[in-house]
Subunit: 219 residues, 2 copies
């Protein structure tokens, strides 16, 4: 019984890794789509999102079945409940990558971002791809260095988010109103994407250490 | 044992109602703050949000304790897991009311919305207050009429959200870039607020009927 349960727990973990892998691919494709106005890549992200939703439902049903059949306690229970929460965050990350792809499709054949913000968004998108890759690794290897990396990347993304808002409010901002809307929304989508990754990495950290914050060695 | 468990389940439900009540008050105050540039009301929403976060944590710990000690199955198990998810959605609704209050504070003593969008946002805010009130009633009385009302209000809010985006893209849009940002963000905050309410009401509907959708009688 106990061994069976451990196998079930491992299978939950594997499903989280699988979803995290799909989220990473979604963000990689969304980045390419938005940077090159690649509408086919955007369509791919949009249609693939259904797969993430399905996997999340499968994982959630599996977790509830585990709770019913095995009645886990202590750390095992927190792991199962944590999986439910992490799957919700991963599913939202998939939605946010899809939103970026939807902006790409909406503005095609134009590029979404005005010239003056392209470099900033390119860094944001790169950081989000790195966040997604680090999250997949964290869930696979349970090495807290990845959690620290996610926190650092999130700080950078928050800084870029603030810069975008500052640029829009500046006197020399000359983009159109729809471009202003796109900058506002996309900046928020990237920022929320990273927030959810931080939320997942906090849960992993808690499950591994009993502490909520990854300890970041001072430089 | 069984009676004790039912009392615990009821206490979880009461905590959800309590959080939903605080979310309703937060949205009522956020509406007043944003419509009248009332910065004190805005500060109140911002500082009261911590109370929602604390109650959510308390509820979650209680739910996990219930799972550990009582090992519920079937409907009871789904109710406990559902409470965990509903508390997450309610906490996000509180955050979104706080974001509206933060916009109010940011633009004080100016009003957040340009003249031309005020009526539209007034309807959106009213609808969100109604959504929050209906959600509190749904969690209190378990009457699915409230779930149907939430779905209807959400449709209206989605329509107003689309109208805001259309207005910003129109040739006669003459608001400043920061106002365009505010309209974009606030419209999205209201829309997400209602989305979370729909998500909670779907869970309540599922727990009461085994079906995900409230049946809306055709007019």
């Amino acid at each position: 019984m106990r061994e069976l349960f451990q196998a079930d727990l491992k299978s939950l973990g594997d499903q989280l890794v699988e979803i995290a892998g799909l989220v990473r691919v979604a963000m990689e494709r969304a980045r390419e789509a938005v940077e090159t106005a690649d509408v086919e890549q955007a369509e791919q992200v949009i249609s693939d999102d259904a797969r993430i939703d399905t996997l999340q439902n499968t994982l959630d049903e599996k977790a509830i079945e585990l709770l019913a059949l095995q009645a886990p306690v202590a750390t095992d229970l927190r792991t199962v409940v944590g999986s439910l929460r992490m799957s919700t965050s991963l599913e939202r990350m998939g939605d946010l990558a899809r939103h970026i792809a939807q902006l790409t499709r909406l503005r095609y054949p134009e590029l979404v971002f005005p010239e003056s913000r392209r470099e900033s968004f390119s860094r944001m998108a790169d950081d989000c791809v790195k966040v997604a890759a680090a999250l997949e690794q964290l869930l696979t290897e349970h090495d807290l260095d990845y959690a620290r990396e996610i926190v650092k990347l999130n700080n950078e993304i928050n800084e870029l988010h603030a810069q975008n808002f500052k640029a829009v409010a500046a006197a020399d901002w000359d983009a159109t109103a729809p471009q202003t809307v796109d900058v506002t929304l996309a900046s928020r989508y990237f920022e929320r994407f990273a927030d959810h990754a931080v939320s997942v990495s906090r849960k992993v950290t808690y499950l591994l250490t009993g502490e909520w914050e990854p300890t970041i060695p001072s430089a």
